[in-house]
Symmetry: C2
Subunit: 470 residues, 2 copies
């Protein structure tokens, strides 16, 4: 047995060093794209134990794969097949260390489940606005490591914008206590933001101080048919002007995406989609009252109908109706899966250029791959599209992916580059896109990234080969 195993057992307790049995919950990424094999799965209880584990791994030159809820989209938190990597799972660091009501912050450990944080914040009378599909099992450490996005970014920003301070274990096993609850601090380089979104390759986030917001008094949802993607962008501009920071969601969904929900989830009622190329879903959060939020919404929808950038609209009358509208939006990925295999993209484009991007790219793909079907939906308010390519009717899905996936990715990503966009808006790079990145990121940026990686992790033991190869 590798002597490191005994040392790790001494550091965190034998029960928390897993080497036998079915470890697929830790070794296989949840989309089942890659099954790895770890040297061991280590589950430390606190920051000091994390530091001890890192020091032991550093001394033996053993690579470490930090892991939260293992819900990532880019195979960034599971081990490779070598059997050499230690999975450092942070699930046991799950204490809420403090809620500071006067400072509007909470300090939490990396292994806290996102939904638990939402609930604890609400119980204290506050909103923690990060919200995404995996919230029932993802951890805040993973959210920070990948700078997760979600549905409320248009108002509250990505995970990055919600964080005021971090505690990090460095590649040398030192603990950096940067758990500041400060909203202004200009005493040197922004270490916090360097670790956020670095996918565990520069340090291991063990705790964070996150922003809280007052709970809105009312949250209303509306749904509108829009005559074109141009109209959707214009509508978004109107919504910004009418609602200001009340606009907490602005989603767009193409007709084909909605038709798949109608087809595969007949129990869900999909409104207003039959005679329009796309629909939008809006959310208005108000500090004042439901009546006020409704008035605001009605004024906005009236302006949009008058302008022509919406052709029909409904406002949910109650929470059940609002949930039903969101449920349609959230079922698109599942409906798409039921329709068959598809090629997924998580891209962003400057909002103003999205209509031209979609028109050009739709036409390009249909020209190159006759019969291809586009499942286009996403967070229009953030310029973030899930621009997915569905197998043509009567074509075998597996064969389509085998033959066309690489070409489709290249066609889409080349278009993204032409439109000054990003090939990964909210999911990250991991191992899935690590070989693509050099084609789409400037060499100057990649050189700087490599310099930073070498500076902070000279042994290259933190999640090596993820994000970038040094």
């Amino acid at each position: 047995m590798n002597p490191l195993i005994e040392q790790l057992r001494a550091a965190v307790g034998a029960a928390h060093v897993l080497v036998d049995g079915d470890l697929s919950a830790y070794e296989m990424d949840w989309r089942k794209r890659a099954q790895g094999k770890a040297l061991a799965v280590v589950r430390p209880a606190n920051t000091q134990e994390v530091a001890a584990v890192v020091k032991l791994c550093a001394a033996s030159g053993t690579p470490i794969v930090p892991q939260g809820g293992n819900t990532g989209m880019v195979v960034g938190s599971t081990p490779d097949a070598s059997g050499r990597e230690v999975v450092l799972n942070l699930g046991r660091l799950n204490r809420i260390r403090a809620i500071d009501e006067g400072n509007l912050t909470m300090t939490v450990e990396a292994g806290c489940i996102l939904q638990v944080l939402q609930e604890k914040a609400e119980a204290a009378g506050f909103l923690f606005p990060l919200s995404l599909a995996a919230e029932g099992s993802c951890t805040i450490g993973g959210n920070l490591g990948t700078n997760a996005g979600g549905t409320q970014v248009v108002r509250y920003g990505n995970t990055r914008e919600l964080c005021l301070g971090l505690e990090v274990v460095t590649a040398q096993g030192e603990v950096w206590d940067g758990l500041s609850g400060l909203r202004k601090d200009n005493t040197g380089y922004d270490l916090r933001n360097l670790f956020i979104g670095s996918e565990g390759t520069l340090g291991i986030i063990t705790a964070a101080t996150m922003k809280l917001y007052p709970l809105p008094t009312a949250t209303l949802t509306a749904w509108a048919a829009v005559p074109s993607m141009e109209a959707a962008v214009k509508f978004l501009g109107l919504a910004h002007r009418h609602l200001g920071a009340g606009l907490t969601g602005f989603e767009v969904m193409g007709q084909f995406a909605l038709s798949l929900v109608a087809k595969h989830m007949p129990q869900l009622r999909v409104p207003l989609y039959e005679d329009t190329p796309c629909c939008v879903l809006l959310e208005n959060s108000d500090q004042e009252s439901e009546a006020h939020a409704r008035e605001q919404f009605e004024r906005l929808l009236e302006a949009a109908l008058e302008d022509g950038c919406a052709t029909d609209a409904v406002v949910a009358e109650n929470i059940a109706q609002a949930k039903a509208l969101w449920s349609v939006r959230e079922h698109i990925p599942l409906a798409q899966a039921q329709e068959g295999l598809n090629i997924k993209h998580d891209i962003s484009i400057p909002v103003s250029r999205i209509p031209a991007f979609c028109a050009e790219t739709d036409a390009l793909l249909q020209r190159e791959i006759p019969g291809v079907r586009l499942v286009n939906f996403g967070h229009l308010g953030d310029g973030n599209l899930h621009y997915n390519v569905q197998t043509p009717i009567d074509v075998d899905g597996a064969a389509f992916l085998r033959n066309e996936e690489a070409r489709v990715n290249t066609l889409v990503f080349d278009q993204v580059k032409r439109f000054d966009g990003s090939i990964s808006a909210e999911h990250g790079i991991g191992t899935l896109k690590v070989d693509k990145l050099p084609q789409y990121k400037s060499p100057v940026a990649l050189d700087m990234m490599r310099s930073l990686k070498r500076a902070l992790d000279p042994q290259n033991i933190l999640n090596p080969g993820r994000v970038l190869k040094v």
Copy 2:
């Protein structure tokens, strides 16, 4: 003559390489704390010329001091006295490259004056919310380099939070085009935020893509007397709940600070300060209407009066009255200067701990230095205090500073550290605090900062000796 001068003349034109005459506008910091001597002041016209200048300086190992409007507070953008440093003034890079209305962004060059950007944004129908005392002469490049704060941080964040992308010339003279207008981009490390706030020590910012917001329909100002700092913090919490993101300003001013304005600026009417330890100034920005903003304000003030966290309040009836209230706040530094010499601090503390910090630190200073007078005011919404120490009555100011400044700084900064605060909230480190920083920043953080500096600027030619010594 140093052969570099000729090379620089060839690169940017002889007229833009200044070596003779009165160069104090470039060589002396505006608070007149330090008069340096430059090898030359170079004023390139565009990014390519900046890159050429950096390459020439790198080849000869010549230190570069990047400079915007030279309005910094910490002697960070003027040369030392050696005559060896080149001042790289970015004032000629002053084009607005684009305003993208659909994307709510503008792309601007580093030398643009902040006030010009505010005006151009407004002319296009948008708000660019960064606002600070030096806005008539500071540049956006300097704002980014120092991560400037200002009066609207409670709603819009610091300069960092307003920036989506950067163009940077590296220490090697390469141009990084990171002028993304994207609100989501998870393709690798956050280079943007590493450069922001690094005070020109890691790279030279030449352009940026900044966020725009819809113009508020109405902006109202109120003023209230509060019975204590605890009450002010409680009032802030109420304001967050009532106004949400409408709360765009929340300033606190101690009675002594206000009494100095009343004494030295008799033409300004200072309201409600005579029988209360402090006053607050609030701003409410609304997308809807002035009537709505006023209703909201009235409800908030009613709640605060009922709760007892305010004892009296007024809402400005018109823009002239609002300006008059802000004018009182803005004249505090000048009134303080007229009263005599004082020792300034720009600190931040978690908002919830400010009352205890002030009570303890006030008492400590009065114990240590009998007769000392505290001019305390600042951006309470951000936890940022300008906690200034005025010479006791009948004591010579110059003697007081000579004898007590170092001790007062140590007393205040030690208290800041005890309360998990920052010794520089919005002004930065420069040369003024570079020797203080190691006493108040963790060694782990300082080690990482040095590693990053060496990684990106291995020759140590970019603003050497500012922020940190390597």
